[in-house]
């Protein structure tokens, strides 16, 4: 089952951060190496997902009163960006969709063969298209205002995860299909933690690479199934029980990891490593993006996705402020149509293609200023990381705005869930307001400016790395772009918010 991976015979295997190992925090390593650690994290989110589906399908169809819309569009999104900024990809770690894996494996046994994911889909283009579909549907069908559609979206995710992982190898859904997970993958590049090898020499001498391929540990070798490398309990440092310990389903090899891309934080590697040699190290939020991490493994598609996420994030935010509605009315008059789907398609196209053009122009200008030739693809490959940092700031500020507005509303919403079904509870809606309105702009502006500074730092590092002394010239087009986009973000955040279900005129 295992195959040898050629590693450098000396020196570091990959450029990994060497910060403090968070697994040294009391109890954390022991918890993560426990075989049911992930399940413990998944069960609460599974229970919440069940509530989302039940209340969305059968509850009161009023978004602020329904668990589906409140938990999905307020709490999930808010906590995702908080986790990405402070910890890492925690929501993939606790993803309840992966609990379909058991039923999917059961179905898989009935199928004649496991299909191979088509090679032309082994990239991030499909994910980009699915993310576009989700963002477009969000605006076109007012998903945020519809508990019923939100519940169906949750069901679709579960069915999709089950179907893809039943037909294709485990991990296919996470890597190539899941829009939520890939949003997290892209933006976990600014997270302050990363999985790394504690001692690369231990990995170098490791025969079976269980962090990648998995292992099986049994007291009696005759009980082993043979699908994984067998290691006896006395070969395991800090033994964590018997059984099968799967490796990385997204095919990441711990000592070679230089990016959080595709890392679901499932911690399979930590459990599978027989030498307890996997660390979760602290690092700077700018470290990964300044080191060209995606060139070899993912290349252009993921950088294009990063740029698109920035401009779709801008659209997602601007669609809630008055100037957008005025612009939509103007656009409607110009094209002579009041068809909202058509107008939204134009707007999405303009932001996506316009954003790519703007990012490409900035990157080419920076390359030219640095003395490189005119090569748009190479320029975007070099500078595209800058837009990822900036994009996270956009999404984080927007999602935090909503989260901070009504984070505590989950309490009356849960009270309402039971009141609606006959319980003698009087929901206390005064709890819903969590933070004074006056604090919202300073907090969200600080987040936006913070990640603009991260983006600026990435610009400087890339410029000096690739252009030497001429980097002082090369950085300016990108710095101007970063500053300009950050100012646009601040102007949006400073606008009075308006929550309408249509881009044109009154909804009702």
């Amino acid at each position: 089952m295992s195959r040898r991976v050629p590693l450098p015979t000396a020196g570091p295997i990959a450029d990994q951060p060497r910060g403090p190992d968070l697994f040294r925090l009391p109890g954390l390593r022991r918890f993560v190496r426990w075989r049911y650690a992930r399940l413990t994290l998944q069960l609460p989110l599974l229970a919440l997902a069940v509530l989302v589906i039940v209340d969305g399908l059968t509850g009161r169809q009023l978004a602020p009163r329904n668990v589906a819309t409140t938990a999905s569009w307020l709490h999930y999104r808010g906590l995702v960006v908080v986790a990405l900024a402070l910890v890492g990809n925690a929501f993939c770690a606790a993803c309840p969709l992966m609990l379909t894996r058991g039923p999917a494996n059961a179905v898989k046994r009935w199928l004649p063969t496991e299909l191979r994911w088509p090679s032309w889909l082994r990239n991030k283009w499909l994910v980009a298209a699915l993310l576009l579909a989700v963002f477009f549907s969000y605006e076109a069908f007012d998903l945020w205002a519809s508990p019923w559609l939100t519940a169906w979206l949750a069901i679709a995710y579960f069915v999709g995860a089950f179907a893809v992982d039943a037909l294709f190898p485990a991990g296919t859904f996470c890597r190539y299909v899941c829009p939520l997970g890939n949003f997290n993958f892209v933006f976990s590049s600014v997270s302050p933690t990363q999985i790394a090898a504690a001692d690369p020499d231990v990995c170098r001498s490791c025969e079976h690479k269980p962090c990648l391929h998995g292992r099986e540990t049994r007291a009696d070798p005759d009980d082993a199934g043979g699908a994984y490398a067998f290691l006896a309990p006395d070969e395991v440092v800090h033994p964590n029980g018997e059984g099968v310990f799967p490796g990385c389903e997204t095919r990441l090899f711990v000592p070679a990891m230089t990016s959080n891309m595709d890392c679901t934080s499932c911690m399979n590697c930590v459990r599978a490593c027989p030498y307890d040699n996997v660390s979760l190290v602290l690092r700077s939020p700018a470290r990964e993006l300044a080191r060209d991490p995606w060139r070899r493994r993912w290349g252009l598609p993921v950088l294009v996705l990063g740029v698109l996420l920035l401009f779709w994030g801008l659209l997602n935010a601007v669609a809630m402020v008055p100037p957008f509605y005025d612009a939509a009315e103007w656009l409607s008059r110009q094209v002579g149509s009041r068809n909202e789907t058509f107008l939204l398609a134009l707007v999405f196209g303009a932001f996506g293609l316009g954003g790519l053009a703007l990012a490409g122009a900035g990157a080419v200008a920076a390359d030219l200023a640095g003395g490189a030739g005119f090569a748009p693809r190479a320029a975007l490959m070099r500078w595209g990381y800058v837009f990822v940092a900036l994009g996270f700031g956009f999404w984080a500020a927007h999602y935090l705005f909503h989260f901070l507005t009504g984070a505590a509303s989950i309490v009356p919403v849960m009270q309402h869930f039971f009141e609606y079904r006959g319980a003698a509870i009087d929901p206390d809606w005064r709890l819903a307001r969590w933070m004074p309105s006056a604090w919202l702009f300073p907090v969200t502006a600080a987040v936006s400016v913070g990640y603009a500074l991260v983006a600026a730092f990435v610009v400087v590092r890339i410029a000096l790395r690739d252009f030497g002394r001429r980097g002082v010239l090369a950085m300016w087009p990108m710095l101007i772009l970063v500053i300009g986009l950050a100012v646009v973000q601040l102007l949006i955040l400073a606008q009075p918010m308006e929550m309408r279900g249509t881009v044109l005129g009154p909804s009702f």
Partner: protein
């Protein structure tokens, strides 16, 4: 294969669902049929205080002595609702003068009515509040 059939059956079952009616709830279900609730909203509501009236009739006769609570919710999760008790301004007509729409956008106004006999009824109306 059995698991696939179960999943397909459950999906078909759920697909036959329709969203619950806007005004339905455990409370609303207890209202006697002939009760008619009419919510009268401002014609062109703007951000700020508004007057909202609720007319309650049973079999075409105004219902006096009911308790009426008016709630304004935005259509986005996390927004704090505006809740006001309406006072009877005329036989069967209940009015709240201080319903404050604090943000432009789509609002759902709900009238929760407790009739003198203790039964309850609910009605919703939607409106778009413009900038001031």
């Amino acid at each position: 294969m059995r698991a696939v059939l179960i999943v397909l059956s459950l999906t078909a079952l759920l697909a036959s669902c329709r969203p619950p009616d806007a005004g339905s709830s455990a409370r609303g279900a207890s209202a006697p049929d002939p009760v008619a609730i009419t919510i009268e909203l401002p014609e062109d509501p703007a951000v700020g205080p508004a007057t909202i009236s609720v007319r309650v009739d049973r079999d075409g006769v105004a219902v006096e002595g009911a308790a009426v609570e008016i709630t304004g919710d935005m259509t986005h999760a996390g927004m704090v609702p505006v809740i006001r008790a309406a006072v009877e301004a005329a036989p069967g007509v209940y009015r709240a003068d201080d319903v404050v729409f604090d943000m432009a956008g789509d609002w759902i106004v709900t009238a929760d009515v407790t009739l003198p006999d203790g039964s309850t009824a609910r009605q919703e109306a939607a409106t778009t509040v413009r900038r001031p």
